[in-house]
């Protein structure tokens, strides 16, 4: 409730302001948005909205914090079913197919009119646009976006006789360095941890892509889970604990991993760049951030949330929603958002702003996620995405806990996915 008060007051202030102007053409917009990392991000959003409203007195935006990505999708979809469609929302970038299947969203290509607007549509990193596009049309505009990065503890590297400034470049090096740390600490410290609850499919996708393999087709109707390259990737992940004994066996908890790293019980972790600001403020040791190691190529899937505009709203409302989204994703705002959270600036122009340039100079890890984008791939997104991701999650966990071999597990997931996707593969 505490967070709602300033928001209520800004709404009230905005209401009074617009009442004073008595603008007959004012448009009311409702937007749901998620927060899936710690921190007072709701305040940041509220301040941005208040600022927007003072610049655009004819548009009122009601921004409603709706929990994590899943909760926000549920809130937005229920509102639509109840006939109270929000005009826009920030939802998981990989919700695209579900939203299209429910005929819930409109393409930005159908909304843009001027050259300036078309230019804006092309101003984002192409890697971030991938999850928001289908059949050549753009449905999602990147907002709070991330990649997976490698955090390493420089003090632990030094204690183990490794060069503290050199993170692992490839799989072999990561396994070797992790083993070195583990042995040097007499089993007190783990070498590396990769989370396998919460979003196992996301981490697995990184391994597979580093091994030169993409898990799904561009149109979201097919997946390739049991390809030899994917099996090899899962075998490597499993080998970190079984063969190299540098990672704990069983699954590793997404939610407590950051704490594990901060308490130095592991020398390396894979995690979202969205944790960066939190790790920076709590770490009592010297740490670095690097791109993920490679097998045949570098790579990480992107993640996070996009702006969507909903069907079932008037043309005027859709135009107003687009004005708001354009304002929110403008370079200065994207830069400020990146500094406060650790999420990426969504366009090259954001990194050319003074603010972000200064920040990156002072704190170079802030640029790693952006640099890695060059090696990025779209996050796993298909029709029936929830079920498909769950099948892959289960396979990864079954392999990591030794219930099935990587090959058996991925064969099973592939079979499950094939039967779910059969009706979509036209």
């Amino acid at each position: 409730m505490r967070l709602r008060i300033p928001f209520a007051m800004t709404t009230l202030a905005a209401g009074l302001l617009s009442a004073a102007h008595v603008n007959a053409n004012s448009v009311d917009l409702t937007m749901y948005y998620p927060v899936s990392v710690g921190g007072a991000l709701t305040d940041v959003v509220d301040n941005l909205v208040a600022e927007f409203e003072s610049e655009h007195p004819d548009i009122n935006v009601e921004a409603i914090y709706a929990g994590n990505y899943d909760d926000t999708r549920v809130r937005a979809m229920s509102a639509i079913e109840a006939g109270d469609t929000p005009q826009l929302s920030v939802l998981f970038s990989i919700d695209l197919y579900e939203l299209i299947e429910q005929n819930a969203i409109v393409a930005f290509d159908d909304l843009v009119e001027t050259d300036e607007e078309r230019e804006w549509l092309n101003s984002f990193y192409p890697g971030l646009m991938e999850n928001g596009q289908l059949d050549g049309k753009t449905y999602g505009i990147p907002f709070q976006r991330s990649t997976i990065v490698l955090f390493w503890n420089k003090d632990a590297f030094e204690a183990a006789g490794l060069d503290p400034e050199t993170p692992p470049e490839n799989w072999q090096e990561m396994a070797d360095m992790a083993t070195t740390v583990r042995e040097a600490s007499n089993g007190e410290q783990w070498g590396v941890m990769v989370p396998s609850t919460g979003y196992p499919y996301w981490m697995f996708q990184a391994f597979a892509f580093q091994n030169g393999h993409r898990l799904m087709s561009d149109d979201g109707t097919e997946v390739y889970f049991n390809d030899p390259a994917a099996i090899e990737a899962l075998e490597y992940w499993v080998s970190l604990s079984t063969e190299h004994e540098a990672m704990p066996s069983g699954t590793i908890e997404w939610g407590t991993l950051r704490q594990n790293f901060l308490e130095q019980s592991t020398a390396m972790m894979w995690h979202t760049t969205g944790n960066l600001t939190a790790v920076r403020s709590d770490a009592t040791f010297d740490f670095g951030v690097a791109m993920l190691p490679m097998s045949t190529q570098r790579g990480s899937p992107t993640g996070g949330g996009n702006f969507y505009i909903f069907e079932d709203t008037s043309e005027e409302e859709q135009r107003a929603a687009m004005t708001f989204i354009r304002w929110m994703t403008a370079p200065e705002r994207a830069a400020a958002w990146s500094i406060e959270t650790g999420y990426m600036g969504v366009s090259p122009a954001a990194y050319e702003t003074d603010a972000l340039q200064r920040y990156v100079e002072e704190f170079p890890p802030a640029a790693v996620a952006r640099d890695q984008l060059e090696h990025g791939t779209a996050e796993l997104s298909t029709y029936q995405g929830g079920r498909i991701r769950r099948a892959l999650d289960n396979a990864v966990q079954a392999a990591l806990t030794g219930q099935l071999s990587p090959e058996e597990a991925l064969n099973q997931a592939q079979q499950e996915a094939d039967s779910v996707l059969r009706r979509y593969a036209r």
Binding site: Q102, P248, G250, T251, T256, E263, S265, G386, Q403
Partner: protein, 294 residues
């Protein structure tokens, strides 16, 4: 009583029932009927109309190995939590019903888990269970044992969830037993002391039978709770690893909101309702008759 007076009384009675009837109809009966109806239809694909498919959804559900795994998990969960938490609750109640110093404090301490919100409790336990940095593994390490991946190892994950639930439930059930124990007339104890009855046989012959109505009440509550678990799974395991801790209601949630499969969610809900209805019938017909009420 005249005829019109009689009618007036009837109307009066009906009006008294009306608020409860409306609430029940709106929030219990209508959703139940809607759920049953939903489970008999298959929504159209890409704008096609909804189709009546009879019991097909149930066939699909019963062919789903995950459903059976989840049902089995839930059965194990119920068997794991209910007897232990009831026995613990009774033991704690007997303990704090006696004369001991700081009785109020001990009672409060036992009751604390109950008043914690489930999500908060689960968050605390997630850090108890965390490998390396967690409380339990730190203790094990101090005693020289190797650490256990409490929530990440499929063979112990469900057990870990069960232990946490027992911790949460026992204190709650204790309150009912405590109230019942204080309602037992002290003369019984005095009389049996005169007869020289041992404490053991007094408990089994007098106290325990008198507590039967409470036990029954607690048992029903525990059973409902065992089917109702969903919140701590969000925090602790998300049903993993590999469905090792997935329980029925969480599976319903997953189907409805992660998979957008409202039909399957409705089908599972109906199955759960039927099972609970059978249990309730058993309770009213068998157990009730064997229970001694005062």
């Amino acid at each position: 009583m005249s005829f019109t007076d009689h009618r007036k009384m009837q109307l009066y009675g009906a009006l008294l029932l009306l608020p409860a009837a409306i609430l029940l109809a709106t929030f219990a009966y209508l959703p139940t009927i809607a759920t049953v109806v939903n489970s008999l239809f298959l929504p159209g694909f890409r704008g096609a109309p909804t189709q009546f498919v009879g019991l097909e959804n149930y066939h699909v559900l019963f062919d789903d190995p995950t459903f059976w795994k989840v049902a089995r998990n839930n059965l194990l969960y119920a068997l794991g939590t209910i007897p232990t938490s009831i026995a613990l609750a009774l033991a704690m109640a007997l303990f704090v019903n006696g004369k001991l110093r700081g009785r109020g404090f001990v009672r409060m301490a036992y009751f604390t888990p109950t008043i914690l919100p489930m999500i908060a409790a689960a968050n605390i336990w997630m850090f108890f269970y965390a490998p390396q940095i967690g409380l339990f593994n730190t203790l094990l390490g101090a005693l020289g044992f190797s650490s256990v991946n409490w929530l990440g190892d499929p063979s112990v994950a469900l057990g870990s969830v069960i232990v946490m639930s027992i911790w949460k439930e026992a204190g709650f059930f204790m309150i009912f037993y405590l109230a019942a124990l204080q309602g037992i007339p002290p003369e019984l104890k005095e009389a049996s002391d005169l007869e020289g009855t041992s404490r053991w046989s007094f408990f089994w012959r007098v106290t325990f039978p008198l507590l039967m109505p409470t036990t029954l009440f607690v048992l029903i509550n525990a059973l409902i709770n065992a089917v109702r678990v969903v919140d701590h799974l969000f925090i602790l395991t998300k049903g993993g690893p590999n469905n090792a801790t997935n329980l029925l209601l969480y599976y319903v949630y997953e189907n409805a909101f992660s998979f957008f499969d409202r039909t399957m969610a409705a089908t599972i809900t109906v199955v759960i309702l039927l099972v609970l209805a059978v249990v309730a019938t058993l309770k009213f017909t068998v157990l009730d008759r064997r229970t001694h009420y005062q």
